[in-house]
């Protein structure tokens, strides 16, 4: 029985902790490889855009960051649903471990968008539907982190945060479409992203960077979940053994 591969075995922090530890270096390595390849392709190989000049190259950061910010929220909501349905401890920890990365991605996407918008549109910020919904997404991340941080009991924090995530995920389409309609009703057709046919090297550079961001997010989330596990399970034997073992190695 013990030899058979069983996914549920990893739902326990004691088994997931070392498993995550062995995975992290691989994700970091893959992320660095993809990142270097993507930056090389994006910064050196991809041709200069005939409309936007060199400034367009910020999309190699901007687009992957936006994708990740949206995707991570969905993943967190998925963990929340699993956690609330099956009452697993790991799910809440994963959701909490992902939140800062998601917020960082949303922030990066807004920041790079502003840096790109100034030379292209002549404004740091416009109330475009995409920008506005990304900003609201950042607010949702901050709300989730504030709520989980305010609750001392970790089990209640997981469950309350999970419920908030599910409410948020139901609301995201409503918010997105209301903002979109608000925008079109208010100012007519606003800035267009000028989706001209993209050179294949640009597309590849973007995909490579997206993979890099993806692997980075997984690696960082796993690192964070390991610290959360140590903090929450500090009274257990396996954490003591783990920490004592490390202290022994250092000696």
């Amino acid at each position: 029985m013990k030899d058979r591969f069983n996914l549920y075995r990893f739902a326990s922090p004691a088994t997931f902790y070392p498993f995550a530890g062995t995975l992290i270096p691989y994700f970091v390595a893959v992320s660095v490889v993809f990142g270097l390849a993507g930056l090389w392709l994006g910064m050196l190989v991809a041709p200069t855009d005939f409309q936007q000049g060199e400034g367009y190259r910020i999309i190699f950061i901007h687009v992957p960051a936006s994708w990740m910010s949206m995707f991570i929220y969905l993943v967190m909501a998925g963990w929340a649903a699993i956690g609330l349905a099956f009452n697993t401890r790991l799910s809440g920890m994963m959701a909490q471990a992902l939140a800062p990365t998601g917020a960082l991605m949303a922030f990066l996407s807004l920041l790079t968008g502003a840096l790109w918008g100034k030379p292209m549109w002549g404004a740091w910020w416009v109330w475009d539907a995409r920008l506005t919904s990304e900003l609201i997404l950042l607010f949702l991340y901050i709300g989730y982190m504030a709520l989980t941080a305010a609750i001392d009991d970790p089990r209640r924090a997981d469950k309350a945060g999970g419920l908030l995530l599910l409410v948020g995920v139901v609301n995201i389409p409503i918010i997105y479409f209301s903002v979109k309609w608000w925008n079109t009703l208010h100012q007519g057709s606003s800035v267009n992203l000028a989706k001209s046919s993209m050179a294949t090297t640009m597309l590849w550079g973007m995909l490579l960077m997206a993979m890099c961001f993806w692997m980075y997010s997984i690696a960082v989330a796993l690192m964070r979940v390991r610290t959360i596990m140590l903090e929450r399970e500090r009274h257990t034997d396996w954490v003591k053994a783990e920490l004592l073992g490390k202290a022994g190695e250092e000696k």
């Binding site: 709300g143 709520l147 908030l164 599910l166 139901v170 609301n171 903002v179």
Partner: protein, 222 residues
């Protein structure tokens, strides 16, 4: 089913009537916030007419926010909430009653006083009518969505600020369609579309939010 809802509404209204100062202070908060805007941006009627829907709606969101922490807190403190959770009726129905009662003491007064404030902003009669109607049918959604936030932050330190962090982003659609209805009337497009969407938001949140709030209350009461 209807009986338990009306019983909760009756009880909450009676409690609210014993502490009328709470209702009145939230209402005056609304009046003061709205009156501050002309002082901030200047008295030009054209500008004020443009600002009015947004200002009134944002003030309405904030005024609703003010009374939300008390939605469950008093019952939680004296143990009533636990008794309600133990009662044989689904907790979602109890919360539905509480949400409706909350709207009657917080949303309805806002709708009643909104036309007076609209006159201060030099809105036309049509716009005033739409504004009042929009606040009337939009504020139940605010009470419903707010109940989820109130339940999630029950008994936490800094609950009030946290509550606004959680709930205000979720209020955005109501704000957009509520203010949009008045805007569309002023510009001659007709606000029916916005009002229909606002009503849809209200019905959806009255249908779903009490159950999400009940789940949140059960987490808080564990």
């Amino acid at each position: 089913m209807l009986k338990i809802i009306t019983a909760v509404i009756g009880r909450d209204l009676k409690l609210a009537m014993r502490r009328q100062a709470d209702i009145v202070s939230a209402l005056f908060f609304f009046v003061i916030v709205v009156s501050l805007f002309p002082l901030g941006v200047g008295p030009e009627p054209d500008l004020l007419r443009k600002l009015a829907p947004g200002v009134l709606w944002v003030a309405a969101l904030l005024a609703t926010m003010l009374s939300l922490p008390r939605l469950f807190a008093d019952d939680h403190r004296d143990g009533t909430l636990e008794q309600l959770a133990l009662a044989p009726h689904p907790l979602g129905l109890v919360v539905t009653g509480k949400v409706i009662a909350h709207w009657l003491v917080s949303g309805l007064p806002l709708a009643l006083i909104a036309p007076v404030l609209g006159i201060q902003f030099d809105l036309s009669a049509d716009a005033l009518l739409v504004l009042t109607f929009a606040i009337l049918i939009g504020t139940p959604a605010l009470s419903g969505i707010g109940a989820i936030g109130a339940a999630l932050t029950l008994g936490l330190r800094g609950g009030g600020v946290l509550l606004s962090l959680l709930v205000l982003p979720l209020y955005i659609p109501v704000l957009i369609f509520g203010a949009g209805a008045v805007d569309a009337t002023v510009t001659g497009l007709g606000g029916e579309g916005h009002l229909s969407l606002l009503a849809a938001l209200t019905f959806a949140s009255l249908g779903f939010a009490p159950w999400a709030s009940a789940a949140a209350l059960k987490i808080a009461l564990e």
